[in-house]
């Protein structure tokens, strides 16, 4: 089992997302919510995708399982899943409701949703809703399903699971419901777990418990985990790698300690400044990021962040689009401060000549 602290990157990712583009067909054109995103997920490691609401992080998570709601649609890129036998499948190539894709959903890649209140149906018992997955993917019998469900409910820390299994979601508290959600996601032993803001709807103490649970489950199963969050505190506590997302694009991507200690993109810096610190001067104001995220419909020209960027360079940032390029051996950043447009053109011309 891999140790988180080692920070060593196994070279064969279990899930590779390449240049993913997902958008929504609107009445007057196409709105890109995810615009060319690439990242890798590795066994036993946690990738956090951070950003403000509306930056496309949830759509990214849902795109991986191809469950973006209509009128959303993946229009480009690859989602490469490495099977246990080493074979690699591109999920984008599968049909929307195809047998191949359905076999991946819940079995290889499972999802924990943000809203434990509404993510369950209130018309069936939790045992029914978990069990249907076991029967579907593992072809267990009625009795095995029940035994397995009780066992999983116990493992995620639900007291007296043999009684709870017959209860309905509305009879459980928010924290318990999120535990049930995790139990459901883990029931078929997925190799990739995607947790979409798993603690946002919960109170603070429950948040910590749920994060602990996710971490210990990951240690037990060595699965890869994607954590979608807007909370830098959660990132610091959970993640191995961080991808910072702004308006459908990654602006900075790399190991968590590198990014926390030496953030390069102005947006990442602004996000980190807004974490309340225990060492902050008393009664000082928490720095806030000015302005709000522009809508994907009225996308600014040039770097999407330039209208809010304190270091924006007129004539460059508002005109050209920066690319996500290596800034050190393991950090990539998309900013003209680190890759000035001249150096770009010179390297390009150098290659050409």
């Amino acid at each position: 089992m891999l140790q988180r602290s080692q920070g060593s990157v196994p070279n064969r990712p279990i899930l590779s997302v390449r240049d993913l583009r997902t958008g929504f067909a609107m009445r007057d054109g196409f709105v890109a919510a995810v615009d060319g995103v690439s990242f890798d997920m590795h066994e036993g490691r946690t990738l956090a995708i951070v950003g403000e609401s509306g930056c496309g992080k949830s759509v990214t998570a849902r795109s991986v399982l191809r469950i973006v709601e209509r009128p959303g649609k993946i229009v480009g890129g690859e989602i490469l899943l490495r099977r246990k036998d080493g074979q690699v499948d591109d999920l984008v190539g599968f049909g929307q409701d195809s047998k191949d894709l359905r076999a991946v959903r819940g079995r290889d890649i499972a999802l924990v949703f943000q809203e434990p209140m509404t993510s369950f149906s209130n018309h069936y018992t939790i045992g029914n809703q978990i069990g249907e997955m076991l029967r579907l993917h593992l072809r267990l019998s009625q009795r095995e399903t029940r035994e397995r469900t009780i066992e999983i409910l116990g493992r995620v820390g639900i007291p007296s699971p043999e009684r709870r299994i017959d209860e309905y979601p509305f009879q459980l508290s928010g924290g318990l419901r999120q535990r049930v959600m995790i139990a459901m996601a883990l029931s078929c032993g997925p190799r990739v777990l995607i947790a979409d803001e798993p603690t946002t709807a919960l109170d603070v103490t429950t948040q910590a418990q749920i994060l602990d649970l996710l971490r210990s489950m990951q240690q037990q199963t060595n699965m890869a985990m994607m954590l979608i969050t807007h909370d830098m505190g959660v990132v610091a506590e959970m993640a191995d790698d961080v991808a910072v997302m702004y308006l459908g694009k990654l602006v900075e991507y790399g190991p968590v300690d590198k990014i926390f200690h030496a953030p390069r993109h102005p947006y990442t810096r602004a996000l980190l400044r807004s974490i309340p610190s225990i060492r902050a001067k008393p009664r000082s104001r928490l720095p806030v990021l000015q302005g709000s995220i522009p809508s994907a419909v009225l996308r600014p020209t040039g770097c999407p962040f330039h209208p809010r960027c304190e270091q924006a360079m007129a004539g460059t940032c508002d005109r050209d689009m920066p690319q996500l390029l290596p800034a050190s051996n393991d950090v990539e950043v998309s900013c003209f401060l680190h890759h000035p447009p001249e150096s770009l053109s010179t390297t390009a011309s150098g290659v050409a000549s």
Binding site: M26, R27, D28, V297, L298
Partner: protein, 374 residues
């Protein structure tokens, strides 16, 4: 996604920001084509209702046995000489087998039609005496020679009766709905405003009224109207009876709106700065749900019209000599009669068209009533 197209042009974009609530509603309403068409249809119906005397050309109650069940005669606007509005006359002949009177059209007999002709005396809007009619004949009695939609068993002119019936049926719905509105706003408002026991009692009352089959009840009430009441007395008693059908829906809308608005920030804010209860209701609450009320009223109107038509059709509502759609349809109760004279079914058309138009209009208004909704 309220209006993405507006975002493309800055001028429109500005307009959306400064538009009043009513402008937004109007824009939204215009996008509902069926509702827009229905708006014109409903307006046309009320125009007919207002000018029924002018549109009729024969005294709707004048009956003559010798012109019973004449088939419709369409107006021909042109003949070989050019503009010459006329109807084709007919000859009465006895069927040699059955000895029944039948009407045979005779193309030689052209009855010239005049527009804005003088005819029988009526009162415009029930007050102004007048005798001008849309169509008529140059000399003599129009009732004798023109029968645009034919005549009924008593030889009364169906077109003229239909015009008058439209005015009666459309207004009875309007008066009925006004009474319903008073009841509904009063009880729904009390329920929503006071809450607690009053709310509970009124809610139970609504539940009770809704769970009882109303038609037999109102049939009972209608049947209890004394036989010797005048047309006017029956008319008003009937409006009251049918208004008792419609108030529950309106009360529910009003209560629901009151309940929702009580929690709204701007109402809470008004309360906090010490605005009086009356001011809050009339300055803040009523304007914000007026549109919902208008929509609910529009949807209640067809229910009223159907109720009146049904009760009159059964002989429990308006009774001859009064004329309404229901009264006209009484003649269509007998299939054999209708099979021989299908034009007796014509009054079905305005009833269905009016009800459809009101439903589409109400539907469009209900959508538009919430211009900020998705």
């Amino acid at each position: 996604m309220s209006d993405l197209t507006a975002r493309n042009e800055p001028a429109d974009h500005q307009a959306v920001y400064i538009a009043t609530q009513w402008q937004l509603m109007w824009w939204r309403f215009q996008r509902h084509y069926l509702a827009m068409i229905s708006l014109f249809v409903v307006a046309a119906f009320y125009l007919v209702a207002a000018f029924s005397g002018f549109l009729a050309y024969a005294d709707p109650s004048a009956s003559e046995a010798y012109r019973a069940l004449i088939p419709p005669q369409p107006i021909h606007l042109f003949d070989e000489t050019g503009w010459n509005p006329h109807v084709i006359g007919f000859e009465r002949i006895r069927d040699p087998m059955t000895f029944k009177l039948v009407y045979a059209p005779n193309p030689e007999l052209k009855v010239p039609v005049r527009f804005f002709a003088h005819g029988f005396e009526y009162r415009l809007f029930g007050i102004i005496p007048a005798n001008i009619h849309l169509v008529g004949v140059a000399d003599g009695n129009a009732a004798e020679v023109i029968h645009l939609l034919g005549t009924d068993e008593q030889g009364r002119d169906l077109w003229s009766r239909l015009m008058v019936a439209t005015s009666v049926s459309m207004t009875i719905g309007l008066i009925g709905v006004s009474l319903s509105l008073v009841l509904g706003v009063l009880l729904g408002g009390l329920s929503g405003l006071l809450g607690g026991t009053v709310d509970m009692l009124i809610q139970r009352l609504i539940e009770v009224v809704r769970s009882v089959p109303v038609i037999p009840l109102w049939m009972g009430l209608a049947a209890a109207m004394p036989r010797d009441w005048s047309v006017l007395q029956v008319y008003f008693a009937l409006t009251i009876i049918i208004s008792l059908i419609g108030w529950t829906d309106l009360a529910r809308v009003v209560r629901g709106r009151f309940m929702a608005l009580r929690e709204e920030d701007f109402i809470v804010a008004a309360e906090l700065i010490g605005a009086s209860k009356l001011r809050i209701i009339f300055r803040h609450m009523v304007p914000s749900f007026l549109s919902h009320i208008i929509a609910a009223v529009t949807l209640a109107l067809p229910v009223m019209i159907i109720s009146e038509t049904a009760l009159s059709f059964l002989g429990l509502g308006l009774r001859p000599p009064a004329i309404s759609w229901g009264v006209l349809l009484q003649q269509a109760q007998n299939v054999q009669a209708v099979a021989l004279s299908p034009w007796l079914m014509i009054p079905v058309i305005p009833v269905v068209v009016a009800i459809l138009a009101f439903n589409f209009l109400g539907d469009g208004l209900r959508d538009a009533a919430d211009p900020y909704g998705h």
